[in-house]
Symmetry: C2
Amino acid sequence: MGKIISLAHGDGGELSHRLIKDVFVKIFGNNEESLFDASVVDIPGSLAAVTTDSFVIKPIFFPGGSIGKLAVAGTVNDLAVSGAIPLYITCGFVIEEGFPISDLKKIAEDMAEEACKAGVKIVAGDTKVVERGSADGVYINTTGIGAYSRSFGNRLSFKEGDAVIVTGTIGDHGIAVLAARGDLGINVPVKSDCASLNKMLDKVYQNSEGVQIVRDPTRGGVATALVELAEDFSLDILIKEELLPVKDQVHGMCDLIGYDPLYLANEGKAILIVSADEKENILEILTCFPEGKDSVVIGEVTGTEKGRLLLETPLGSKRLLSRLAGTMLPRIC
Amino acid sequence: MGKIISLAHGDGGELSHRLIKDVFVKIFGNNEESLFDASVVDIPGSLAAVTTDSFVIKPIFFPGGSIGKLAVAGTVNDLAVSGAIPLYITCGFVIEEGFPISDLKKIAEDMAEEACKAGVKIVAGDTKVVERGSADGVYINTTGIGAYSRSFGNRLSFKEGDAVIVTGTIGDHGIAVLAARGDLGINVPVKSDCASLNKMLDKVYQNSEGVQIVRDPTRGGVATALVELAEDFSLDILIKEELLPVKDQVHGMCDLIGYDPLYLANEGKAILIVSADEKENILEILTCFPEGKDSVVIGEVTGTEKGRLLLETPLGSKRLLSRLAGTMLPRIC
């Protein structure tokens, strides 16, 4: 098969066949290449949740994860925050000619491992190869299908006093990836938080009726995710700067390079808006999971009219936050 | 929004939001950006067929289609040839910085039009932007979900005498795309056959019990698709060169540049293996559709043991065919 990807690995002929058989089928644990152009999957109930995401992260390996782990976890999380139970993942690879097959195997192994952890099956795949210079290593699309089990986000259910919970420290992924690019010239001991959250969130859904809505603050960070929620449901949300969980190293890096942790990407965190009377119960569940051990309340819903996000500083002044405007950090996922 | 794609269109902030709203949501005909990270879809029955495909075709616009039309039709066809009824499509875009937004709109319009023709809904999307030089314009992944309605390809059901049908002229897509690249320096009046085949195939499935299996001969062409069928089901297949439907212009081009139409990609053709007593009935149905008007029998199953594909020349000699080996034509889909 050779050591690097050639254009012929993508043309549907003999080499494509062997690449699929020797790398993907082997590592993803299916016994044989599917005999058909589509896979057949069982979906309990008639409603399914569907999500798609492409991953172009640079570098493809970084502390705490890789493009493979991220592609599975990211798609699993999109389903989980929507209230679905993730079941199946498809993956489409666009690979640059010359890409090392050993790296492709590592990526596939990371995908298989994360899929196993999250309890999802990789059911379909596709490989395309483009000429040298027409991609940057490898891009992966993952599409996820889940059983739709729970409906969130009824505008009327939100109430003043609803609590805003974040499931751990913010900005870790953004800083870890930035540091891994080597542009900073310093070593930053921060790992990406990249992780599948479906088991933790499912435990919450099973044990509380108090969840109003959940989002994952990936691109655009916690601030952008909360602005979107505020706008989508006309919520007034107030978060307090002093409550935000930020690692010292992330804080330090942000000070140094002028980034705001509120706008940095996270890949293993969820934001939950929950009813006030359930917040302690939900925090208790979340903090039992390693992925949620640092969960805290960072603010609350103060009204259900204006659709805006305010940040209160330690000195008590309030500042209106908007979506991320312009590029802070490209190719973060 | 500007006239070209910038990195900020992919960072999940304000510009991403506007791109999704002003281009994709508008053109794909959904009333509002989904409030959730996943879309909820209805799947009749509990079995679904799933397929994924990335498209890296060059050039992105070509006679008879575009990367957008191809991405929808290609995924629809993967479902249809598997016996499923295509219902939903997701799309993931990886776009190069500097890509014209007008071109992105044309591509989205082509996708919407083809989805409408095929009767599928585009239910989820994702946009990533990479720096100039890190992609070649735009790559699209489409993942398709369909209701699984019919099981094909029982090894025991194949019989000597089963007919091999191709639903029209072969190699049109390969030659059209090659010519559109301008490398040949001559104008070739051949259009890609790019089309969704699900309605035609569904009509066949509804009206005949004689279909043994169906494949779409895309990358690798008719020969590779038939070799795969032969190997997968241990079939001996004999096709006759004189029966192959090839347009004069395609024939001429192949002679000129040394390509074999049997290995050229098709994007609007299906190969059906059908029982001998149903072949006339099935041909009658196929030829009623514009996409199938040139359908013909090109050969037959001569045994169910060896798993090989033979080509009989007009002079009566027989030649063993193998999968496409090495790259004939990269980035054809």
